[in-house]
């Protein structure tokens, strides 16, 4: 059977589309990597199923929501762990990351200069507690999983890609912020040294987030 045609539409950044791009690249599957410039977005918004991006099209049929896209591609290409229970743990880590993202949203918007705010106040009140809670969980998970370079199981999953991409952003915006989580940092290093992923990262345009 012929491979479906994949098209991924998002802004020219990593944030919510990078994992999907990486999954397609890791699988060796050609895809149209559409990067929408900010001024062109308002005209496209109403065409998206939920008025937002990223959107994946599979043979022209749209699918919104980044985690739904990530999970769909990961299932197709073998990046969801080796059993339904492992796949569920990948989902659990991703959703815990989502909770942490919701908690730290204002802080990161301020760090990126997108909104006004008191960076120090947000770090103290929100950033540090959220970091300690979430990365504390990841540190424990990585250790319990055998410090083997993965957060779940013995092979690369989309949770690994999700965390590694976010850590890249944190290292750019808040150097040293994650020094208290050495197993996580080591896990991310191992993830990023996966040959095909390393290839993708090296040839991708630099993006702060």
């Amino acid at each position: 059977s012929t491979m479906p045609a994949y098209k991924l539409t998002y802004f020219n950044g990593r944030l919510r589309a990078e994992v999907a791009r990486q999954l397609l690249y890791l699988a060796g599957v050609p895809f149209e990597d559409v990067r929408v410039r900010r001024p062109d977005w308002p005209a496209l918004k109403s065409k998206m199923p939920f008025g937002e991006m990223p959107v994946l099209e599979v043979d022209g049929k749209p699918l919104p929501q980044s985690f739904a896209i990530n999970r769909y591609l990961a299932k197709e290409f073998g990046f969801t762990g080796k059993s339904p229970f492992e796949a569920a743990w990948v989902d659990a880590i991703a959703d815990q990351f989502k909770d942490y993202n919701i908690e730290t949203r204002r802080l990161f918007l301020v760090l990126l200069g997108m909104i006004q705010g008191d960076k120090e106040q947000l770090l103290k009140d929100v950033g540090i507690p959220a970091r300690d809670k979430f990365f504390g969980i990841l540190e424990k998970i990585a250790k319990e999983n055998g410090s083997n370079g993965h957060f779940v199981g013995q092979s690369l999953t989309w949770a690994d890609l999700l965390i590694a991409d976010h850590v890249k952003t944190v290292n750019i915006l808040l150097p040293g912020f994650l020094d208290g989580f050495p197993t996580v940092l080591d896990t991310v290093k191992k993830i990023e040294s996966t040959p095909k992923l390393k290839e993708w990262i090296e040839k991708s345009p630099y993006s702060k987030f």
Partner: protein, 211 residues
């Protein structure tokens, strides 16, 4: 081929909240499970034994799994309520995550009406609840139409997103009686879901809680 069914235990607070969809999946599939309800005053002692310091937690043969949507999806996959194809399953996931985004937007209103904090209910209703409801339920109404107005959000059979949305509407209506009057197709989905005979059995006998 005979396989033994795993033993299941679901730990959550006594309310519906983030545990109800998973409880419903057990009842819909006639799968026995321990419906472990942890009262608020017992939670602090139990907390450290959970993987993320939170509930719900599903135990499958004693192995824990946290995060409500990971649990619901896992059970839905096992019992046949996750859509009939990978693409359908992905659309169930997309709608569930859109619900999650909506819930984050409406939370400040719900927090106050549930009685967890102080706030101006009328102001929050106008500035927070109504915009969030209009955006999300507008998406659902269109989705219901695109799906063929067949009483389901995805495909032509019950999925866990039908359960999630129906349960939430029940909660919303306690505090905003006409919350979905502008969304007739969504109301049809809620009606069809809540009158499913197996589900109705559970709905009629479950403990009544405010949320």
């Amino acid at each position: 081929l005979l396989t033994t069914m795993p033993s299941y235990k679901l730990s959550y607070f006594p309310g519906r909240g983030l545990g109800e969809v998973s409880r419903q999946l057990f009842h819909l599939s006639d799968t026995p499970f321990e419906d472990h309800r942890v009262p608020m005053d017992e939670w602090p002692a139990y907390k450290d034994s959970t993987p993320f310091g939170q509930m719900p937690v599903l135990f499958v043969d004693g192995k824990p799994l946290p995060q409500s949507f990971a649990i619901a999806r896992f059970l839905a996959d096992q019992f046949g309520f996750a859509g009939k194809t990978p693409f359908e399953a992905a659309w169930v996931d997309a709608l569930a995550d859109q619900y999650k985004d909506y819930f984050a937007e409406i939370r400040p209103f719900l927090f106050v009406v549930f009685g967890f904090g102080e706030g101006d209910k009328e102001k929050l209703k106008k500035k927070v609840a109504e915009p969030a409801i209009n955006k999300f339920f507008g998406i659902l109404e269109k989705r219901a139409k695109d799906n063929g107005s067949n009483g389901h959000l995805v495909g032509n059979s019950l999925t866990w997103i039908d359960l999630q949305v129906s349960d939430h509407i029940g909660v919303l209506e306690l505090y905003l009686p006409n919350a979905i009057s502008a969304y007739p197709l969504v109301n049809e989905i809620r009606k069809k879901t809540t009158t499913d005979p197996k589900l109705k059995e559970w709905l009629d006998k479950r403990p009544v809680t405010p949320f």
